[in-house]
């Protein structure tokens, strides 16, 4: 498999960066900010599951930790928003490393790993819904303070640049992984863990590193969410919706590819908006569409849109290069 080239990344990010120059529509920008946020969270999941083959059903644990650390440090301890955001990423990475260390040391794989991540996310959700520091059932409101130093802005455009930068960084990280020895080990673990260990890959450590990076990327999404919406509660931060969004985007876009999460996130968000347009803003309907699409993608294009494009391109190339006598026969 060929990885993402630097030129592709620059091209895609540049194209996205041009959007605010073309339109000032809040609807468009809000759509893209949320889509990019999902792409970021999904990229986190993709590092662990797409490249490492470890399917987590509880990435909300990292998203929520990023969001809560960012919000709590600001509101309870008066820490600067940017520092709180950075510490939120570190907090998420720490939670990822802790869960990873426990799970991988016990040799949990496949369904067991999915179960234990799900359980950790649920434990955190229940704790956050009762602990006073998280605002318990009420949640945390981040006080309005429209200054760049406070990671708050008048319009949506600065948020758009920031989330785009985060997505760009996540793409570069994934490219770095793809090209490194570590990335090769990670893919080896995905393809056949026992064989990888037999040839000398320290599989537990590779998986742990992947999980820490994965958690950090997803936690960045959580921290950004807190700053953008200025409100979180246990259902938003640690709820199953974000665990599902995190896996849905890369699976639809193309699991184990650098651009899969971005592509998938745009499609996911678009589908959600269409569902809302068709039926009004009914609760639950967008998720029905997501679930249905998840099943359809797994059933018909297991490699996602990226896989679909590759196979179409191959077919096209074969058509063009096929010898002329085939046209007669």
């Amino acid at each position: 498999m060929k990885g993402a080239s630097l030129a592709h990344i620059v091209l895609v990010i540049a194209a996205l960066a041009a959007v605010p120059l073309l339109t000032a529509s809040n609807v468009v920008l809000n759509f893209l900010v949320v889509a990019l946020l999902i792409a970021l969270v999904g990229q986190g999941w993709n590092v662990l599951a797409g490249y490492g083959g470890q399917y987590s059903f509880g990435h909300a644990a990292f998203f929520g930790t990023g969001a809560y650390v960012t919000a709590i440090l600001q509101m309870r301890y008066g820490v600067n928003a940017w520092i709180a955001f950075t510490l939120g990423i570190a907090g998420g990475a720490l939670v990822g490393a802790a869960i990873g260390a426990l799970a991988f040391r016990s040799g949990l794989r496949g369904s067991y790993f999915a179960l234990v991540t799900l359980a950790f996310a649920e434990v955190l959700r229940i704790l956050a819904s009762v602990a006073p520091v998280t605002g318990a059932g009420v949640g945390i409101l981040i006080a309005l303070d429209l200054r760049p130093q406070a990671f708050q802005f008048q319009g949506r455009v600065p948020f758009y640049w920031i989330v785009l930068t985060l997505v760009a960084v996540s793409l570069l990280i994934v490219r770095l992984i793809e090209q490194s020895r570590f990335g090769a080990w990670l893919v080896a673990v995905r393809e056949n863990e026992d064989a990888a260990r037999a040839v000398g890959v320290n599989t537990a450590r590779v998986k742990l590193a992947a999980m820490t990076i994965s958690a950090a990327i997803t936690a960045a999404g959580g921290g950004f969410y807190a700053q953008y919406f200025l409100f979180i509660d246990s259902g938003i931060a640690y709820g199953p919706w974000i665990s599902i969004a995190a896996l849905l985007a890369p699976i639809i876009g193309g699991i184990g590819t650098a651009f899969g999460p971005l592509l998938g996130a745009l499609v996911v968000k678009m589908l959600g908006e269409i569902a809302k347009l068709v039926t009004g803003d009914a609760p639950g309907l967008d998720l029905v569409v997501y679930g249905g699409v998840l099943i359809l993608v797994v059933a018909f294009t297991p490699q996602g849109i990226a896989g679909l494009l590759t196979s179409l391109r191959l077919r096209f190339a074969r058509l063009r290069s096929s010898p002329p006598e085939r046209a007669h026969g």
Binding site: S106, L115, V116, L285
Partner: protein, 290 residues
């Protein structure tokens, strides 16, 4: 505070709750034991069954215990179709895909219920719901005592089906050695679907037992299914007796945790136990090596 007059009722009530947990887990463990998949749609299917039991009472005036007679075969058929026509074909025989497909099903079912009926919590009023059985040392709610009896009967019935009928033998054969079973002429896809159907049918029974004393909302199944996951792992993945025993045990643990730590933290006890078991004894207390 360790007085017996409080502790004994707490434990007995835990056992009654645990029996229904056990029944939910029974379906899950049966599916795992034969198909070797974790059915993430189990909770959503339980929710669907509870809604069905609720509306059978609300619209048709059907008593939940009578509704079980109708709903159990219906959910058997539903389970059969889901495995045969959705999960099986969509998964292409890959375990990871099964995870995703059942998760997708769970999301679809749960949110369809949310869309159709809203997030409201509903309850049924039955004249016998608050009737009490006096054991001398404890008062127990009648519907829960009935539930306990039904769970034992269903488990026995299931055990008889598995050990005496041809289909039961085929199911056990597939669970043990899929290829061998296939070579001796067993239709594996059919047996998979039958097993999934049996697991789903267990949910219909459990739903009808729960509805008289429990509330119904679109997310109710999740609470049960995480408990059921715990039970399945604790009892040993795929072990039917393990599921029942672990179910009773978890019921008691939850009851005692809720009693000492308060209602909202009662569930934490279960999750912590779940994580500990997964981490340190993933093969369960009764199971073989996972």
């Amino acid at each position: 505070m360790l007085s017996l007059t409080i502790l004994v009722p707490a434990i007995l009530n835990g056992l009654l709750t645990g029996a229904v947990y056990g029944l939910v887990a029974l379906g899950l463990t049966l599916i795992y034991g034969v198909l070797h998949i974790i059915n993430f749609a189990h909770g959503a299917l339980l929710t669907a069954a509870m809604f069905a039991a609720f509306f059978a009472h609300r619209l048709l005036g059907l008593d939940p215990y009578l509704a079980a007679v109708v709903l159990t075969p219906m959910f058997f058929v539903l389970g059969y179709c889901l495995q045969r026509f959705v999960i099986g074909p969509a998964a292409h025989g890959e375990d990871r895909n099964v995870l995703l497909v059942t998760l997708g099903l769970a999301v679809v079912i749960e949110n369809m219920l949310l869309y159709a009926f809203g997030a409201d919590t509903r309850t049924i009023n039955l004249d016998y719901a608050f009737r009490i059985v006096d054991l001398g040392i404890a008062f127990l709610a009648l519907p829960r005592v009935v539930g306990f009896g039904v769970v034992l009967a269903v488990t026995l019935l299931l055990w008889l089906v598995l050990s005496l009928t041809d289909t039961g033998k085929a199911i056990r054969a597939v669970a043990k050695e899929k290829l061998g079973a296939q070579l001796s002429g067993i239709d594996v896809a059919h047996i998979y679907a039958v097993t999934f159907a049996l697991g789903t049918a267990c949910l219909a029974v459990a739903a009808c037992l729960l509805v008289p004393t429990y509330y119904v909302n679109p997310h109710i199944g999740n609470a049960f299914v995480l408990v059921a996951f715990t039970i399945v792992v604790l009892g040993g993945m795929g072990s039917v007796t393990g599921a029942l025993v672990a179910g009773l045990f978890v019921g008691v643990v939850e009851s005692l945790c809720g009693f000492y730590l308060g209602e909202s933290l009662g569930q934490i006890g279960i999750f912590v136990m779940f994580i500990l078991v997964l981490l340190f004894r993933p093969s369960g207390l009764f199971g073989e090596r996972a």
